[in-house]
Structure formats: structure tokens, C-alpha cells
Amino acid sequence: MPQDNRALRLTWRLLTAATGLAIALAMLFPLVWMVATSFKPEPEIVSFPPRLLPETFTLDNYIGVWERLPFTRLFLNTVVFAGAVTVCSLLLDSMTAYALARLRFRGKGAVFVLVLVLLMVPFQVTLIPLYDLLAGLGWINTFQGLIVPRLTNAFGIFFLRQFLLSIPRDLEDAARVDGASEWRIYWRIVMPLAVPALLTLGLFHFMYNWNDLLWPLIISQDTSRQTLPAGLALFMGQHVVEYGPLMAASVLTLLPVVVFFIIIQRRFVAGVATTGIR
């Protein structure tokens, strides 16, 4: 009976929609709590029983962020760290990927194997000698100490090499015949073709470093060089926990990444799907 069938299908649609909505709300719940709390006045935050949404709306916590934390400093540190690592890493990764994907030379196989091995090694194993090395250079608690060891990485090289292998090389060969230098071919012909891959990789690099905790935690020693995740995690550990300003600071920390993500969601998700890197 068609009527029955239609009713059944409608029920099924409503059921899956309700399930989906419940899942979405559960996933967003901690973030909703964070945002809602950031607008609550202090007495509401510590009252029992706790409620999800604020009854009175206040911006005090956002003002409080700047009173309790050197927030502007931490924010700028994070921008400089994540920004510099992203830009430099794209350059170095792509230069190496170009050599591996396009140039003929002896030892190429060995270099590629090295990249694959480094892809498997967890970076935590390098932490102690790296700290020792940077301490010897006087680079602890400096931007160069934070940034230089991250200037290139095996995943970026691997990712761009795979991409470059997949794009046609007719243009380059023509340019080579015309006597163009390799640098010119790399910079003028290959890089423009690689823009989609560079954007995806740039996003990964930026997000990874913006969010990272362990590395900035160890290399920075005070708020003059701490990034936001390290600064907030330590602030939480050291003080009587004031959740209002902490939640406001958390919102301000997550906001740039979330906005960025929502704008370029499609490219981002496609990048994850094809490569499996976070």
C-alpha cells in the first residue's frame, strides 16, 4: 500500500533526523557550555544546581581575561609561532617535494626512505635531546627555539611529493627545453599548479601548531613566549580556578580556528579524507 509506505518513510526520515540532531547536540555540548559560561556573571557560574544557559548576560569575563592574563601577548605569540612555521614549512616542504618528484639525481631513493622513516617516528622521542640542544644554543624561551625545529616536516614533504607526481609535466619539460632554470620552473610553473595542495597543507600546519601543547609547553618558560594552549593550561593548573575568564579566553582561542574551518570546510575535509592527517 503506497500510503503506508509513505508514512513509514516519513517516520524513518524523522527518526534519522532526530538521531542526527541528538548526535550533533551531544558533540557540540562542551562548546555550548564554554560559550554560555563565558557570558555568565560569577555568582551564576558557581551556583548550584548548574544551568546550561545564562540568566543574565555579561561581558565581564571577557574584560577579566585581560586583567588576569597577558592575553594579547599570548595571542601574538601563537600567531607568530603558527604563522611562521606554516609559511616556512610550505616553502621548505615544497622545495624538497619538487626535487623528489621532478628532478633526477642519485640518492633520491635514500632520501625518500628517510622521509618515510621520519613519518613513523613519534616526535616525543626527540624532545629531551632537542631541549638540551636548544638550551646549548641559548634558544629556550625564544621564537627561534619554538620555530626553527619545525621549519619542515616529513609529512609535508610526503604529501606534496604525492601531489606533484599527479600533475602533468608537459609545461615544465617545454620550459626546460627553453633553458629555464630549475628555480624558475619550481617557482613560476609548479608552485602555481600546486596551490590547492599548498592551501590544504598550510591549513594542517597552521591548525596543528596553533593547537599544540607539549612543544610550546617545554620550549617556553614564561608568558613572554607561551602560546595560548600552553598559557591557558598552566593558568588552569596554577590558580584557584576562575572558570569565567578561562572560558572567555578559551572561546577567543578557539574562535579563529573554528571560523577559518567553517569558511574552508570543504577543502579541509577533502584533505583529511585523502591523506589521513590531522
Binding site: R13, T16, A17, G20, L21, I23, A24, M27, L28, P30, L31, W33, M34, S47, F48, P50, R51, L92, D93, T96, L103, R106, V111, L118, M120, V121, P122, Q124, V125, T126, L127, I128, P129, L130, L133, P149, T152, A154, I157, E182, W183, Y186, N211, L214, I218, L228, A233, M236, G237, S250, T253, L254, V257, V258, F261, I262, V272, A273, G276, R278
Partner: protein
């Protein structure tokens, strides 16, 4: 190495022309900055960590070679045994749970349904944000006095007097839930990509043959996702073995070291107690663990993967 290579040592079979030599020189120049950075800041520290693990290096005393002493000490150190068990426990629960949930979500969100885009975005958002920062909100949610989640849970009879994060039996589940919540969207997206690569003709043919939803999943979806599952399980296991961020923020390894993982212990021994040699040995134990698991998984799935 092939037999056609002359024994006289590495002379190329075909003498490269000047163009070839120029290309080789260009290649090494292109790779020079990368080689310098990787060499000094990755490869050297890695080998140095291996060397340090055979010494008694502490921050103010020079390194002295002690052979396998650190590794022998690890085997009888209850703190290491505890961290190893915690790490394996964390990985053994969060890996299968995350992967199973991700598969379920991908199957649900691969079909046409209202709100599909919104639900996918909501599931994926935790992937892109800082785990350390969002763990602060999770700590707050679980606060025994003013946390909303612990209040709701107490209403349905799940009560923890001292609070989840101070409760020796609930702290680990709490950090596990946060770890799963953070990563499930990532694996879901990988599964969605896998699902979309399965030809719909296979399902149509199965439907014509009268196969119901379960046989279709069992005989088509699951075997054709085998490679995807392999990749996801490996990535998930490797990631969970390195758990650190939410643990540092929420429990700091406590209560009573119940949530201290290997990375947490490396951090404590290396950067709180400054026993660099011993900490290096712990970190190499982690490398070994990750390496062995990756190899086991690759071998296992290589035998089981199916292609049509």
C-alpha cells in the same frame, strides 16, 4: 643493488651529461635547507635520545655510559609498569570505540537525511580545535560542585563524591571519553571517503538478489572498507599511544598516577625531575611500542584485505 652495477664502486652506468649533472646539483640545493633542519633538529636528536638512554645523564651531571642499566631499571620500575599499562589500557579502549563509532556515524551520515551537513560539521568540529583548551571546559563540566555534566549524571544515579577527575576509578574513563570525542569525527570523515568509493551498482545487484541491510553490510561494505579500516585503526592506535594533552590539563596524570601515560611520564621524568637519560629510555620504549603495533597491524590486515 642489481648485479649490473660494476664492482669498482658506484660509478654510474650511464655517464650523466652536463644537463643531468646540473639537475642533480639543483636537486641537492633544493633539499639543502630541509636536510639541514631535519638533520640537526630531528635525526640527530633521535639518535642522541638513543645514546642518552644508555647513560645516566641528568641535567647538571655529565652523561656516563651505563649500558642497558636504564632499560633494566624500567623493567623493575613500578611507575613505568603503571604508565605502560595505562597507555595500553587507554589505547585498547579508545581505539576500537572511536573506530566503531566513526563507522556508525559514517553509515548514518552517508545516507540522504535532513540536517546532514550540520551533523557532519558538528561531529568534525572537535577535530580542528585545541584539545588542551577544550579540556579545560571538560574539567569544568565534570566539576563535582558546579559542573553541569556531573550534575546531570548524578540525577540519573551516577554520583562521584570527590568528582570524576579525582576519583581513581573514574578519572581514566573521563579522559578516554574526551579523547574519543575529540577524534571520532576525523575517522568518520575517512570512512565517509571510503563509503563513497564503493560502486552503488554492487548494492543494486545485491538488492535484486534479495539481500537485506545486514548481508549487504557484511558482504559488501565491510570487506570493501577493509583497507580504510586498516589505515584508520593504525592511525588511531598510534595517536592514542601518544595521549597527553587532555591528561595534562584534566588530571596531570593523577589521581595516584592512575592516568599517567608514557608521554606524561616522559614529561615528568624529563622536565620535572630532569633525569634525561632515564626519560630518553622511556621515550624509546614508546617508539618500540608504536613500531611493533604498526607492523602487527599491517601484517594482520594484509592477510585479510579483500578486493573485488
Amino acid at each position: 643493488m642489481t648485479t649490473s652495477v660494476p664492482a669498482a664502486g658506484g660509478a654510474p652506468r650511464r655517464r650523466p651529461g652536463s644537463a643531468g649533472r646540473r639537475q642533480a646539483r639543483a636537486a641537492w640545493l633544493f633539499m639543502l635547507p630541509t636536510m639541514a633542519v631535519l638533520g640537526v633538529f630531528v635525526v640527530w636528536p633521535m639518535l642522541q635520545a638513543l645514546y642518552l638512554s644508555f647513560t645516566d645523564y641528568e641535567v647538571f651531571t655529565p652523561a656516563r655510559w651505563i649500558g642497558l642499566e636504564n632499560y633494566r631499571a624500567l623493567l623493575s620500575d613500578p611507575a613505568f609498569g603503571n604508565a605502560l599499562v595505562n597507555t595500553l589500557y587507554y589505547a585498547a579502549v579508545t581505539t576500537p570505540v572511536s573506530v566503531a563509532l566513526a563507522l556508525g556515524l559514517a553509515l548514518l551520515l552517508n545516507r540522504r537525511m535532513p540536517l546532514r551537513g550540520f551533523v557532519r560539521t558538528a561531529v568534525f568540529v572537535p577535530v580542528v580545535i585545541s584539545l588542551a583548551v577544550v579540556a579545560i571546559a571538560w574539567s569544568f563540566l565534570l566539576d563535582p560542585n558546579i559542573g553541569l555534566l556531573s550534575h546531570w549524571l548524578s540525577q540519573i544515579g551516577i554520583v562521584s563524591e570527590q568528582g570524576w577527575l579525582r576519583d581513581p576509578s573514574l578519572a581514566m574513563p573521563a579522559v578516554m571519553i574526551v579523547g574519543i570525542w575529540k577524534n571520532v569525527g576525523f575517522y568518520m570523515v575517512m570512512y565517509l571517503a571510503g563509503l563513497q568509493s564503493i560502486p552503488t551498482a554492487l548494492y543494486e545487484a545485491a538488492r535484486v538478489d534479495g539481500a537485506g541491510p545486514w548481508p549487504r553490510f557484511r558482504r559488501i561494505t565491510w570487506p570493501l572498507l577493509a583497507n580504510q579500516t586498516m589505515l584508520i585503526v593504525i592511525l588511531a592506535a598510534i595517536a592514542t599511544l601518544q595521549a597527553f594533552d587532555q591528561i595534562f590539563v584534566m588530571t596531570h596524570g593523577g589521581p595516584f598516577f592512575r592516568t599517567e601515560t608514557l608521554v606524561m611520564m616522559t614529561y615528568r621524568i624529563g622536565f620535572k625531575e630532569f633525569q634525561f637519560g632515564y626519560a630518553a629510555a622511556i621515550s624509546w620504549a614508546l617508539v618500540l611500542l608504536i613500531f611493533v603495533l604498526s607492523m602487527l597491524q599491517v601484517a594482520y590486515f594484509r592477510k585479510r584485505s579483500v578486493t573485488y
